[in-house]
C-alpha cells in the first residue's frame, strides 16, 4: 500500500579531508540507512566536499535542552584556570 508518510530524516556529517573531523553538513530524507548514505553522497559531496560521510537518524540524536543552558554551560565561564594560558612558553617553541 502506498502511504503519504515521509521518509525519516537523517543528519549528515562530512569529513572534508583526512585529519580533519566530521562536520555537520545538513540533512536528507531516506527510507533506510544505506539510502541515507547514498542521498548524503549525492546531495552533499557533488563538488568534492568530502572523503568520509556519517549519517545518523535525526531522532536518534540526544540534544541538550535549551532551557538548561544556564546549568549546562555557564559554570564553565568563570573557570579561567581550565584554559592553558598560565604557562611560560619556552623560547623556540612555535605554533603552540
Amino acid at each position: 500500500m502506498m502511504t503519504d508518510k515521509e521518509w525519516p530524516l537523517y543528519e549528515v556529517f562530512i569529513r572534508s579531508r583526512s585529519g580533519l573531523s566530521h562536520r555537520h553538513a545538513g540533512s536528507v530524507h531516506a527510507a533506510d540507512d544505506q539510502m541515507a548514505l547514498d542521498h548524503a553522497r549525492d546531495t552533499y559531496t557533488r563538488r568534492s566536499e568530502g572523503v568520509s560521510i556519517w549519517v545518523v537518524r535525526s531522532d536518534r540524536i540526544v540534544a541538550s535542552d535549551p532551557a538548561e543552558t544556564a546549568a549546562f554551560f555557564e559554570p564553565a565561564e568563570d573557570k579561567i584556570y581550565r584554559h592553558p594560558t598560565f604557562y611560560d612558553i619556552p623560547d623556540g617553541v612555535e605554533n603552540l
Binding site: 539510502m35 547514498d38 549525492d42
Partner: protein
C-alpha cells in the same frame, strides 16, 4: 601509425551506449518523487553524458577529419547509432528504470573493468574514470531493486514484470559480433562470453536477494549493434537532436 577505422567504430559504440542511456535518464529530470533521488538521477545521467563526450572526443581525435563530439551526438542518423537496445528502452515507471539500470550497469561495469586493461590507452583511460562512476550507480540501483523486490506486494509484482519485459534485450550484450571479436583479438578487449557468465552470476545474486525470479530463457531481441533500433528510439533521437537540427551551427 595510420588510424584503425574499426577502433573508431568501437569507440563510437561505447559513446552511443553512454549517450543514449544518459538521454533517457535526463527525460525524467524534475519528475522524481523525492528531492534526493532527483539529484542522484541527474548526477548519474550527467555521468553518462560525460562518458559519451570522452568517447566521442576520442573518436573524433582518431578520425582526424574535423568532426566534433557534437557532430557525433547531434548530426548522425538513427541507423548510425550502435547502442544496445536495452539502454534505449523507455523509462516506464520507476521500477522499469531501476531494472534497466541494474541489468545494464552490471554488464557495463564488467566491460569497463576489461577495457581498463585493453591495449588502446585512449580507451583504457576513459574506462578507468568511468568505472568508478558506474560502480556507484550499480550500488545505488541494486539497493533499489532489492528494496522494491523485497518491498510491498505491489512493488514486488511490478518490478518482477519489469524484469520479464526487459530480459529479452539482455542477450545482445553478450552476443559478440565481428567487431567485438576483433577488439578481443587485436586489442585484448573484453571477452563477452566471460562477461556474460559473470553477469548471470551477479544479476542472479541481486535478483535472489530481491526475492524475485529470473525470467525463463527466451528468444533474445537484438539489432542495436547493427543500427537496427526499437520503435521508440526515433523519438529519442528526434527530441535530442531537434535544436541543432533546427538551428544548424547554433551555440549554447
Amino acid at each position: 601509425m595510420s588510424t584503425d577505422p574499426r577502433l573508431i567504430d568501437y569507440v563510437l559504440r561505447l559513446g552511443d551506449n553512454a549517450l543514449v542511456l544518459g538521454q533517457r535518464m535526463l527525460e525524467v529530470v524534475a519528475a522524481y518523487p523525492e528531492l534526493e533521488e532527483e539529484l542522484a538521477n541527474a548526477n548519474f545521467a550527467l555521468d553518462y553524458i560525460g562518458q559519451a563526450r570522452l568517447f566521442y572526443s576520442y573518436a573524433c581525435q582518431l578520425e582526424g577529419n574535423g568532426r566534433s563530439e557534437d557532430d557525433m551526438a547531434f548530426l548522425r542518423r538513427e541507423q548510425e547509432f550502435r547502442n544496445l537496445l536495452l539502454v534505449e528502452q523507455p523509462n516506464g515507471h520507476f521500477g522499469d528504470t531501476i531494472v534497466r539500470q541494474v541489468l545494464f550497469d552490471v554488464y557495463y561495469l564488467a566491460l569497463l573493468e576489461a577495457l581498463k586493461h585493453c591495449k588502446d590507452t585512449g580507451i583504457s583511460e576513459i574506462a578507468a574514470r568511468a568505472e568508478k562512476e558506474v560502480r556507484y550507480h550499480l550500488r545505488h540501483g541494486a539497493q533499489w531493486l532489492v528494496r522494491l523486490g523485497d518491498g510491498t506486494e505491489e512493488s514486488h509484482n511490478r518490478v518482477q514484470r519489469s524484469l520479464e519485459q526487459l530480459w529479452r534485450y539482455t542477450g545482445e550484450m553478450f552476443a559478440a559480433d565481428e567487431l567485438d571479436a576483433y577488439m578481443l583479438s587485436s586489442y585484448d578487449g573484453p571477452d563477452l562470453e566471460a562477461i556474460g557468465e559473470q553477469w548471470r552470476e551477479q544479476v542472479g545474486a541481486i535478483v535472489a536477494e530481491a526475492t524475485l525470479l529470473l525470467p525463463a530463457d527466451q528468444v533474445m531481441t537484438s539489432g542495436g549493434k547493427q543500427g537496427i533500433h526499437t520503435e521508440t528510439f526515433g523519438y529519442l533521437i528526434a527530441e535530442m537532436q531537434s535544436l541543432p537540427r533546427s538551428y544548424p551551427g547554433v551555440t549554447w
